[in-house]
Amino acid sequence: MKRTLLVLSLGLVAGTTAHVGWFAAKRPAPVDSLDTQLAWIRTQLDLAPDQYRQLKHLHEQLGPRQLQLAAEVERLRAAFARFERERREAGEVDFLEVARAAADSRSLDRECEASARQLVSAATRVMTPEQRQRYLRLLAPALKDAAADQPL
C-alpha cells in the first residue's frame, strides 16, 4: 500500500516537474516591441543581415509616424462612438462637430493609406522577388483594405 502510493506520487511529481520545466524553458518570448515583430519578419522571409538592417532602419524611421496615425485613428473612433451614444441617449447631435470629425476622418484615411504604401513599397525594395511575394502575402489583410480604394 505504502509502496504503491509512493510510486504514484513519484509519477505525479515527475510528470508535473517535466511539464512545468519544459514549458518554462521553451516558452516563446512575449510580443512587446517592434524588434520582436521585425525578428519575426526576418524569420518568415529569411532576410540576410544586411536586408534586416535596412528594414529595421526603415521601420524605425517610419514607425513613429504610423503609431501617431494609429493614435489619431483611435481618437476619431472614440469620437464617433461618443456621437452615436449621444444620438441614442439625447436624441440629438452636434452636426457641426460630426461634420468636422468626418472631414478629419477622410483626411486621416488618405494619410494612413499613403503612409502604409510608402512603408510597404520602401520595405519591398530591400527584398528579393521571392521575399517580396511572401511579404505581400503576410500583409494581405492590410493590402486588401487599401486596394479597396486604390491599388498599391
Partner: protein, 119 residues
C-alpha cells in the same frame, strides 16, 4: 462354486448407503453465494486494488510507470507550447499589420487558427 464376496465392495456399498445425498439446492446455493460475493463492489474494488499493488510491487513496472508519467508531462508541455507559438505568431502578425495600416480594424485581422504562415 461362486467366489467369496469382496469385503471392499461391501464396505463401499455400506458407505454410500450411510452418506446422505446432498440435495441439489445446497450446491446451487453455494455457487450463488460465491457469485454474489465476487460481484459485490467492495470485493471487486479489493480485488482491483490488490492487483494494482501487486503490479507496483515489481520494480520494473514502477520504473516504467514513473517514466510514462514523465513522458506524458513532456508531451502535454509540447502541446501547450505549440498552441502558445500559434498565438504568438497571430499576435505578431496582428501587431505588424496594425503598424502598417492603422485603419485596419480588429475584424480584419487574422486569428490564431489561420496565423501559421509558412514561408
Amino acid at each position: 462354486m461362486s467366489p467369496a464376496p469382496d469385503p471392499l465392495e461391501a464396505a463401499l456399498q455400506a458407505l454410500s448407503a450411510e452418506t446422505p445425498r446432498q440435495p441439489g439446492s445446497v450446491q446451487r446455493e453455494v455457487w450463488r453465494r460465491l457469485a454474489h460475493a465476487e460481484s459485490t463492489p467492495t470485493s471487486r474494488t479489493q480485488h482491483g486494488w490488490w492487483r494494482i499493488e501487486a503490479a507496483f510491487a515489481h520494480p520494473a513496472f514502477a520504473t516504467v510507470f514513473v517514466a510514462a508519467c514523465l513522458l506524458l508531462g513532456l508531451f502535454l508541455a509540447e502541446v501547450r507550447l505549440n498552441r502558445a507559438q500559434h498565438e504568438r505568431t497571430a499576435a505578431l502578425e496582428r501587431g505588424y499589420l496594425q503598424l502598417i495600416d492603422p485603419l485596419l480594424s480588429a475584424t480584419h485581422l487574422p486569428r490564431a487558427e489561420s496565423a501559421a504562415h509558412q514561408p
